[in-house]
Amino acid sequence: MDEILDIGKDDKASYNLGLTPLHPPQKSVIRTVLGINLLVLLIGIGFADVMLAKEAELTPLGIFLGPAAILALIIFIMLPERKYRRWGYDMAADQLRVLRGYLFRTDTVVPFNRIQHIDVAQGPIQRFYGVSTLIVHTAGTHNSVVDLPGLKPEDAEAMREEMRKHIKQEMI
């Protein structure tokens, strides 16, 4: 517990307060998901661009699509790495800590004996890259679900076992 407190004070300079980083392939997951979203957006912009240029003859072809594509490329290259390194978690003796986000950073602690049930989930993209998401459910209306994506599947399973051992009898 004291460690956690200290980490928050001392390692402020580091991207994720010195917590455990996610499994590296998670970077690829973030990039793939981002890529798909950007592609969909670009197709939409491209369609509008062509319509405005060819049908309405209002604008020169590519005036929207060009800059958008360049911007998308920059985002695609820069963002995943940054997103990835802002994540962190810490599996302490009796609580799980999850840190996420940068502009709006949330640092959540869930004590093990407040966990109601636990999921280990894996979507198709995650499976391709070999990462899992650990999801803990609490009784709180706020934070009823806390997601920790980008774990090595073995680690996720091991963490689940560890937490389950700690779930005490105390009823809420």
Partner: protein, 518 residues
Amino acid sequence: MSDIADPVPHTPAADNADVMEDDAAVLRLHPLSLLLSFLKLIPQFIYIIPALFFGMSKGGALVFVLPAIGALILVSVAISYLKWRRFSYQVGEEEIRISSGILSRNKRSIPYERIQDVNVEQKLLARVFNLAAVKFETGSAGSDDGVLNAVSLDEASRLRDIIRQRKAGIASNTMADADSPATPDAASAEEEEEDTPIFIMDDKRVFIAGLFNFSLIIFAVLAAAAQNFDFLIPDEIFDRDYWIERVDAGKQITGLGLWSQILGLISAVIGLVILGLSTGVITTFLREYGFRLDRTKNGFRRRRGLTTLTDVVMPLHRIQAATVLTGPVRRRFGWHHLKFQSLASDGGKESDHSVAPLATTDEMDRIMAEPEIVREAAAEYLPVRQAYWIQPVIIYSALIAAIGGALAWFLDARLLWLLALILPIIFFMRLHWKHHKYVLTGGQLFVRSGFWRQKLTILPIRKVQSVDIYQSFIDRALGNVSVVLGVAGGSGIIPLTVHDIYEEDGYTLRHALLKAVV
């Protein structure tokens, strides 16, 4: 899509980790559940009928439409089948495990300690096939805890028995008396009819409560009605000439002179006040008439209502936090509204229980003594940082300056007076800040907030479910954080938050809050 075909090679490691549970048989839902889930799909196919007609009317397109519908049905059936194939559950030594999902796989683990109740449900269709749905309820705030949609009736009762036994085994080791469902509580409360109530409101009290519920909502209702039923209103009502003709208003009003105009204004205001007060009194009487709170064996029982009488039981161990609401005027008279935030059970019930709509501090203390919540903080409340009011003031001021400036530029320079709006915003935001205070003492977190709607939340820290430290990029520059608490029950939209305190204080607060939990 290829991952449907080879789900196994990717998960050997996962299976190794499961060794402990592997001796528990992997079970599937009843095959007939396939039929059930397909029957449930049928209503969705109704949307196809218009498409069919459209296709027919186009003639040639029919060749196109029919195969498309066929394919759609085929795909739905395939999906239902795959879902069934990929859904399995295990009844282990310590937990229930549920695996589900076609593309996105999810493995849920529900420890027996956390299962509060097992519900066996038989809907009409399921009954025909002698199937039942088994629902495991844990205390989690989400609605989908663990559901086995269709198992045979025998399997359902087997599961229920196993879980009750396991739970009983756990319970005998500990104090944990299982959360009993509301009905037995209600029944036992019935027997204790003779109990002396812990809090009652007579008609006079309800009337006073009504006065504080001043509301001009009636105008909103009338406006909405006018919108929707304008066909009932004669056309002339919107016709200016009609009114001038009728009352010759302009001449009459100016003719009356200044004093009469003021008198008219005053009487209009008085009229509004009377209307607002009577609306408050009427709605309050409808809701709170005959308010009575009893202490029963397990907790509280509340009865109230004029037209619809409601009767609610609140087991003590489900109470999570207390909320004391008041306002600047009400407070002066010593009146408060006490609520208990309680764990919603059995789905969909209110989780914010009003236990004393208008009470004195003594009356509140008597009620709060039962769940052992102390109302008076033993230590001084701590203020939050000034950023709490300065930040919104800057944002609103910028907004007003932009809008006011633009309007003044384009329309009329006098519109610059709009900037004066910033002054009251500063005033009220500061008031708002002054009323936001917190203190952690005696095992309880006290959080005050709001100037007009003054709210004091008292949270025994053993009821804390999770603690967030939140920091936006502006907060970071200022060295501030907000501490957001996960509490069972209550509003999910506005969680209990201590806004804008020093980063260090935030971490210390979290540390202290969690020390009691772990």
